[in-house]
């Protein structure tokens, strides 16, 4: 069978349809992005203003009022130790958003750099980096994180470390793929032929154009990290009590799932809304940062 696919390339179609409207649409007209930003900003605002907004001290116990349903005094009820769920939810946002964002930064940076190097230089460097990536990829994220947190002992810093050790891999893969594509782009070739050195080509020309995918992924990664915290809480490896945190709130509520099922739903909804906001931002960024790519 003759294979022409390799030997026969085509000129790109003379020009694709580039509707003028799509070209210069400013970011604020991007509905997903705006909706996502609004949601996340509200979340961040609630977190920042928690000390002002929260009606109670989130760790203040009042055992006489434990396990109350929603009421005027406690809008979202109280937990097992009589702590105000709304206050815990607000303060929890601080912890979860902080962990979510912070835990993403190191893997983002490390993965992006390694992925860019692997994709740009190729060869042995690529092979070695990608084999390491393969090894980590072979383990389900949860499995490794759980094992690592177990090894490191529960607590916030262990969570950062475990997530960092594990999740750089995804960024590395994504960025490498993008860089390999970008490297073929004519503007990159032009930059190289223009005599720019590798660091410059990577940093100025390839970097800004490939980072969007990594950022988009980071958005869903934050949600993922929050889920990791929740799951660790379920297994008793989560954030140290009595810190208010959505994951441990869900884990605490676990005991009451069959009776006071909404106790797990309230922080769950917070996770869902944050996740929704972040994925909307991700969608929007994909549209915005890569105009030539459709969703």
């Amino acid at each position: 069978m003759t294979t022409f696919s390799l030997t026969h390339r085509f000129r790109p179609s003379r020009r694709e349809a580039r509707p003028a409207a799509r070209r210069l649409r400013p970011w604020y007209q991007n509905r997903s992005l705006v909706a996502g930003l609004v949601i996340v900003c509200i979340m961040v605002l609630l977190a920042v203003l928690a000390p002002v907004l929260a009606p109670y001290n989130p760790i203040k116990q009042n055992l006489n009022e434990a396990l109350q349903g929603p009421s005027g005094a406690h809008w979202l009820g109280t937990d097992k130790l009589g702590r105000d769920v709304l206050s815990r939810l607000l303060y929890g946002a601080r912890v979860d958003l902080r962990i979510g964002f912070l835990a993403v930064i190191i893997p983002f940076v490390v993965g992006t750099i390694l992925g860019a190097i692997a994709g740009y230089f190729g060869g042995w460097l690529d092979i070695i980096i990608m084999r390491i990536v393969d090894v980590f990829y072979a383990f389900p994220l949860f499995l490794l994180v759980i094992a690592l947190v177990f090894v490191l002992g529960p607590g916030e810093s262990s969570i950062y470390l475990a997530i960092a050790l594990v999740s750089w891999v995804s960024y590395c893969k994504i960025v490498r793929g993008e860089v390999i594509v970008a490297r073929q782009q004519e503007y990159v070739q032009a930059a190289r032929l223009g005599g720019l050195n590798n660091a410059r080509v990577l940093g100025r020309h390839i970097g800004p154009n490939v980072i969007s995918q990594a950022i988009t992924y980071a958005m869903s990664d934050i949600v993922m990290d929050i889920m990791v915290i929740v799951t660790l809480g379920y297994l008793g490896l989560g954030i140290t009590p009595p810190t208010a945190e959505w994951g441990s709130m869900i884990a605490d509520a676990q005991e009451f799932i069959t009776t006071l099922w909404w106790m797990a739903v309230v922080p769950g909804v917070a996770v869902v809304i944050t996740g929704l906001g972040l994925s909307l931002i991700g969608d929007g960024l994909t549209d915005l940062l890569s105009p030539e790519r459709r969703k």
Binding site: F4, S5, F10, R11, S13, R14, A17, A20, A21
Partner: protein
């Protein structure tokens, strides 16, 4: 009245009247991609639509075939095929004519074939559906169609996947597919743009020959003036979503009746006239969301006078069966009505 009744001898196969295509948007300011386009194609006629990128050729063709992309709609006008209004047809009725009566060939043979299906099966799909052939008969017809496009060893080629074929072969497969049900009208959207000259030459000849054999009419969209000249007998020149000029190919080439057509010819290199200096058209095509009033070409037109920027510029017959949308056609080109 914007269209002058044409003296026609035969009932047109395809009649497009006042076709306006746009992207409706709730917040007003919608883009109009094609504006008030009218033309007719008689049976067996090879009709060309030329124009630069973005002038709305493909949209017009897609509207005829009922394949407008999402969000893009026919805002006004009528399209009659064989006397039936295709715009009001139900999707089901539409599907019934697509294939046996009307077929389409796309620009990119690279992407227009389903990559995961053998080409023979893709050709046979139409005949199976519309001619009610059995699987084996349809396959046989497919092989026969491939043979008629001049591809050697058709039986083997029928079993190939698209990616195993070169661009020229793929485009022939597309032609075989389009013609497999002997349609009355073949719509072509730049079928040779992606091909090499030598292959383009082969494909154009093949297309013309097969259409003649089957008596099919052709509506041919291209940006290449030379290609229309080789293929079609009648053409429209489109600019910014409108038809600027319509006429028989030879007449338009020899005596264009619109400044845009003239400018287009002057900017295009003519193989048989290498000494001529090429004159680019200054400026840019107008925005589709906010088109200038009057003649859309006026801002770039060397002959433009004040009145060009006002009023509607209907297509009028300036010579026998030769229409121009330029008010000044008479003055500039000395056309006789």
């Amino acid at each position: 009245m914007s269209v002058v009744a044409l003296s026609r001898t035969v009932e047109p196969l395809l009649s497009v009247q006042h076709l306006t295509i746009g992207i409706p948007s709730s917040g007003g300011g919608h883009a109009t991609l094609v504006r008030d386009v009218s033309f007719e194609v008689g049976p067996g006629v090879r009709y060309g639509l030329v124009g630069e990128s973005g002038s709305g050729k493909s949209m017009t063709l897609k509207a005829i075939a009922g394949l407008l992309p999402r969000g893009v709609e026919v805002l006004e006008g009528e399209i009659h095929f064989d006397g039936d209004d295709v715009l009001t047809m139900s999707p089901h009725e539409r599907r019934r004519i697509m294939g046996p009566r009307m077929a389409m060939i796309f620009q990119e043979p690279m992407t227009a074939l389903n990559p995961t299906t053998r080409v023979g099966k893709q050709i046979a799909e139409g005949p199976r559906r519309h001619l009610g052939l059995s699987k084996a008969d349809a396959q046989e017809l497919a092989v026969d169609m491939i043979r008629r496009t001049g591809i050697p060893d058709p039986a083997r080629r029928a079993r190939a996947y698209p990616h195993e074929l070169s661009g020229g072969l793929r485009q022939r497969i597309m032609i075989a597919m389009a013609l497999s049900c002997k349609p009355a009208l073949v719509l072509c959207d730049e079928p040779t743009t992606a091909l090499d000259v030598t292959v383009q030459d082969q494909v154009l000849r093949l297309l013309a020959q097969l259409c003649d054999d089957m008596g099919s009419a052709l509506t041919f969209v291209t940006h290449d003036l030379a290609v229309v000249s080789q293929t079609c007998s009648r053409l429209s020149v489109m600019y910014a979503g409108r038809i600027m000029e319509e006429g028989n190919v030879r007449e338009v080439y020899e005596a264009p009746q619109h400044p845009y057509t003239e400018a287009l010819f002057q900017s295009a290199p003519d193989f048989d006239d290498p000494g001529r200096r090429l004159a680019p058209i200054p400026g840019l095509p107008p925005s589709l969301t906010d088109p200038p009033p009057g003649c859309p070409f006026a801002p770039r037109c060397q002959y433009a006078i004040e009145s060009c920027s006002t009023g509607s510029k209907p297509l009028v017959e300036v010579r026998h069966r030769h229409l121009s949308a330029c008010d000044l056609a008479d003055q500039i080109f000395g056309g006789t009505r």
